[in-house]
Every structure is written in structure tokens, then in C-alpha cells.
Amino acid sequence: MGMMKKSRIKSPWLLHYDGSSCNGCDIEVLACLTPVYDVERFGIINTGNPKHADILLITGGVNQRAARVVRNLYEQMPHPKVVVAVGACACSGGIFHDCYNMLGGIDKVIPVDVYVPGCAARPEAIIDGVVQALGLLAEKTNKEAAV
């Protein structure tokens, strides 16, 4: 089983969804894919499909309508999966935490594994967060129970 665990770390496929973000953090996530930061070195691909993804990377807080979408995406991802919340809004709702339409951080809707702070979290911080998430991914099994 060692090879399986190792391959899980070496080829994490990532689904990026923008909850209710101001697209500052989204640009930084996309910047990670570009030549200057190039996360494909770690085998990370940005698949647009929850069914292919291992890591759910969410930027921005969650408003009432986005909560439903975030929950759907999380449920559609096959196990083992991890959730990375990128940016102050994703961690705790940030500057918008007491707007009338905001529920707050991502942990209000789905269990979050890694929090990446920063208002417009830097690509390096995001890479750190994803690398940390890989450690958690290896431990999880593909059964429903050990979520």
C-alpha cells in the first residue's frame, strides 16, 4: 500500500471554487498554475470537475446561495478528499464576516482541513497550505467512515 499512499501525495488533483470571494485570492490561486510558481511540478492539476478532484480549494467566504454549491461540490468529491480554505474571508469571513448575506468562513458549511490566512494569500502561502493538505490526504482512506 506504500505505493498507493505515495502516489496520492505525488498526484493531488485540485478543484478550485470561488465561494463569495472578491477574486483577489482567486487570482493568486491561478497565479500558482502559471510558469512563475508552476504547481504542476508537484503534479497538481486544476481539474474543473469535482469527480476527478482530491483537494477542494475554496477562496472567499460563503454567502447563503453559495453555501448550497459548496456543500454539493464537497459531497460530489470521492474520498479521500481534503478542503483548503484560502484567504482571510475563507478562514473566518474576513472583512465581510458581519454582512447581512454572509454566513462567515468555509467551516460554517463543510469541515476544513487547512486554513491559509492572508488578504490575498500569497501563492507561496497557498503552496504551503496545499503541501500541508497532502500530508492529511495520505492518511485518509477511501472509505466513507473515516472522513
Binding site: 469535482p50 469527480k51 448550497r68 454539493n72 461540490l73 459531497e75 460530489q76 470521492p78
Partner: protein, 656 residues
Amino acid sequence: MITGKQLVSAAIWLPAAAALLCYLWRSYKGRNLVVWASGVVLAACSIGLYLTGPFNYQPGEIAGLSWNTVISTADFALLALILLIGIKRRHILIIMLALFQAALLIYFDAVLGGGELEPGPAFVIDHLSIIMALVINIVGSLICIYGVKYIGEHEDQHSGQTSATSWLSSHSGSRQPRFMFWLVIFLGAMNGLVFADNLYWMYFFWEVTTFCSFQLIGHDLSEEAIANACRALWINSLGGTAFALALVVLVRYGGGDYLSIQYLLIHGAGPGMTMIMLATALLVLAGMTKSAQLPFQSWLLGAMVAPTPVSALLHSSTMVKAGVYLILRLAPVYIGTYLSDIIAIAGGFTFLVTSILAVSQSNAKRVLAYSTIANLGLIIACAGINTPAAISAAIILIIFHAVSKGLLFLCTGFVEHRIGSRNIEDMEGLADRMPLTTIIFTVGIISMFLPPFGMLVGKWAALEAAAHLPLAALFMVMGSAVTALFWIKWLGRMLEGNPGEVQSGLEPMAINYKASLIGLAAGAVLLGILVIPLIRSLVMPAVSQYYSSPGLNTAAQSIVIGNSGLFAVWPWFVLLLIIMVSARLLYDPKKTKSAPVYLCGENSSSTSYTSTGEQSIQPALSSYYFDGFLGEARWTPTVNSLAVLIIMVLLGVTVL
């Protein structure tokens, strides 16, 4: 021991007797019994014929009259009937064509004394006619068994909505016996046509099949059915006229014994015989109208109004095959001439154009009709190429097309009764509602054009033969690419199921349906597996009878690789079996969670999504029909005029 002669007369007379019995026997059970019995006997007859091998048969007198006079009187009676129908339906074309044919026949009998000619044995049963007999009797009887049950259900469903003017509601008693009468008698007519060597007799059976088709298409008696029946009648009578003209030309310029096909095959070829070649061209033209080739395809599409067994029996497996049988029978006559190339191009052109038109159809039966015309075009193209390999390809295509297309028509009929519509879009998710039918449909469609099944061997041989005629090769190549498009588009629509819907076992099927559907499906698979023995026993003798080499070399170079195209088939079916079994092992519903469909994250349930204004919407799917580019309305006029041009060239080239 039953001699060959008794088998032939049985093959022709038994269906007539059975039809009469069906007509008289009012109860369904009785008719069912008769059809089953006659089906079994007919099949036995054809197998018997196969065992006895080729022989000639000249029937003796009956009640003092020679058969010829009986045939000619029956002919005139038939023409009178057609004339009557023309007048009753006030259809000028039918009247004119019937009169013209009558005139030709009178000229033929009176002036040339054709009626009394005895150019040779009336019936010559050689390998080709045995193959045709096998197809007609086995596939035909299965379809009749299906038809008995189908027409019963058809009547219950239609008695409610048939339009007021239909004769049905006004006339007391159901029309099932009448339907079965024409359906079963048709088998006899086809057997007769296939055995006949005397062209005049063949002409009689030719007219009988046209009349049967008219009666069966008009079964529902709605305006649409009657209009289409009339159209079918006048186009086929056009073919009949060409046939009669050919008879006159043959006797007038060639002398009496040209009436026998065997004589024609031996003496007909050669440069000097322009008039004989013109007659052959006319016969080919008659064949083309019968198999609804390009300019004449409208009647077959109209005939789709008829109940499905009619479409299956007449308009795909047997009747339209008569035209192709005639063209194939005459192939040695026009071997090597320009006529042969033109026929190849006409066939290829039809194959390509009708395949493309089939893409834009959403009515299942019209797709099947277009695909039938396409495959007939392919067979005619092979006949046109006229090399031993091409002829064997044509025969293989005839056998497999009859089985697979019949199967598909019957499946469509059965589905139509269950879901009440013929539109492909309404067949969405059939795999979950009717799993057994979908499996049979899959076998049918796969056997139409994919490797392990026979049709592909035919197509392979056709391509190999067409290599010397680039234009025909181009038509075939593009046509076969397009066939994949419309078949899989349709099958795909049937397979589309919602996740998580557990199949609750196979759907109920009446014994008649089971027998015919599963019988034909098993037939398709069996013929696929036994394709090489089939070729050795049936096709090669038929080809080597008239051509120098047997065409296909069935010796296998290695386990997997056959010689020049013929491949050992059994590894294929082993592979398909392995795939089925491993799929069952790998996927066990308990372990695999059924995932909701990907709907951009907005799933409100496993199949629907929340859209504008927070309403939950089901995604609607529909296949592509390219109505803009390939629409029937846009293409048919141009295509028909091109085809008429080809026909002109076809006739013209013989004369020049």
C-alpha cells in the same frame, strides 16, 4: 423421401393455403397456431432445399391447362385489380401505368406469343436462390409469428384513435385475419420469385409482391396510409412497366429462349448484344425501383406508416431484397461493361446520401428505412463492381442485413407499443425501463456495422473490391463513417439512465415476441460466429457457379489473422464475453456509491439543478440532427435530380 419438386411446390403453395386458413379462422388462437405451424414447415422446406442442392423443375399440367396460361391469366387479373384500385382511388398515375403494362403484356402474348414459350425449366433452384429461400422462410416466418401478436395489440391500441373516416370502425369485425392473409401469402410470392427462372413467371410474382405491399401499407385505412399505399403502388408499377418492357425487348430482339435467365447469363454477355444489354438495364432499373434506390426512395419512407411487421418483412428483409436479387442475378451479364461501373457508382451514391439523410431523422422507423436503402445501395454497388470478392460481399451483406434489420424493426415495433411513440427522443433511458429490449437493440445495432459481426465482413470485402474504383471507394468510406454516427447517436439516447435507478429485472414479453426477437438476435450472433463455415457452405458455391474464382480465401494464416481480411471470428466473441464477465465482477452495486450527475455544483437532487429564480429544473437532452445542414427538405430535390441523371446515364450507356 420428399423430393426437391415437392419442396418447391410446398414453398410456394403452403403460404397461400396458410393465408387462406388465417383469413377464415376468426379466432386469434387459431391464427397463431396456423402461423407457428406454417413457419416451422416453411423453415424445414428451405433447409430441405439446401440439403438437396441445386436442381431444375418444370411443373406439369394442372387441370388440363399449362402453367403458362394460368400465369398469364392471373397476370391480367392482377392488372385489372390494380386498374380498379386506381379508378377507385382516382389516382391517374396508377391507371396510366396499369394500362401501359396491360398493353405491353397483350403485345407480348398476342404478337410475340411469349405466353406459350417454354424457354427451359420454369424453376431453376441454384445456390443463390437457396440462400434467398433460407432468408425468406426463416426470417420471414419469425416475423410472421411476431406479426400475429403485434397486429392484435396494434388493433386494440388503434381502435380507439383511428380517424372517423377509417373503414375499420364502420366495418364489423377486426381486420387482423385480412392482415395475416396478405402477410403470409407474400412469403409464397417471394419464394416463387426467387425460384423462377422464366422471366415471365418472375414478372407475375413481382406484381404479386407489389399488390401485397399495397394492401399491407393501406392496412390502417387512414388517409395517410392510403396515400402512401398509392404512392408505393404507382412507383412499383413503374418498375413493373420497366420489367414488362424488358420482356418485350428480350423476346422481340433476342428470341424466345432469352426469357430464361440461365440462357441470358450464358449468351447475354458480349459486345454485340446492345438490345439485350438495354433489356438488362431495364431489369436493373426495375430492381432499383423495387429496392427503393435513390430517385424512388419516397415510397419506402412513406411505407413506414404501415404496422411494424410489414416494415420488417416487406420493407427491409425480403421484398426490397427481390430487386437486389435480380440485379445480383444479372451481374454476369453486364460484367466488365460501363453499365457495371455506373451501377456501382449509383449504389455507392445512394449509400452515401441516404446515410447522411438518416442522420437528420428523429423518427426511428425513418432512420431504419434510410439505413435499409443505404445498405441496399451498398449491395448494388458490390454487384456493380462485379468481381468475385464483391459478389460474395453482396451475398454476405444480403444475409446479415436481412437478419439484423428485421431484428431492429421488430424491436422498434415492440418499443413503440410499450412507450407509444416512435421518436428517438422518447426512447431516452430505455435501458432502465426495458433492459431486455435494450440489450437486443444493442446486439442489433452492433451487428449492423461493427467488427465481430458479419456485416463488417461484407463491408470489408466491398472495400477491398472497390479499391480499383476510387469514386465508389470514396462513397463507401464516407458512407460507413456516417452510418456509425446515426446508429450510435440513437443507441446512446437509449442507454442514458439516471444514476441510482436500480433495474428491477427484465420486462414481460409475450411468447411470440420472445421467440422472434431472441430468435433473430441469437441468429445474428450465431451467424457472426459461424461466418466462415457459412461462407464456405453457402456463398462460395453460389459465386463459383458463375465466376472463375470463389472470391474469398477462407484459409486462416494464423489463429487470429485470416487470409486477406477474413479473420478467425471466435477470438472476438471470447473477448466480448470476457468484457461482460469482468464488468459484472468489477462493478458490484453495493460497493459503488451512485454519484449525482455533474451539474456545475447546483444539484438540487441527484439529477436536477436549481436555476434562475430558484426553480429546480431537469436538464433536457437531445441528440444532434443537423437539420440546418442535412435537412431532408433541403437535400432531397437536388439529390433526386442527380439520381435521375445517373439513371439516364445507366440506360444511355447500354445503347451507345
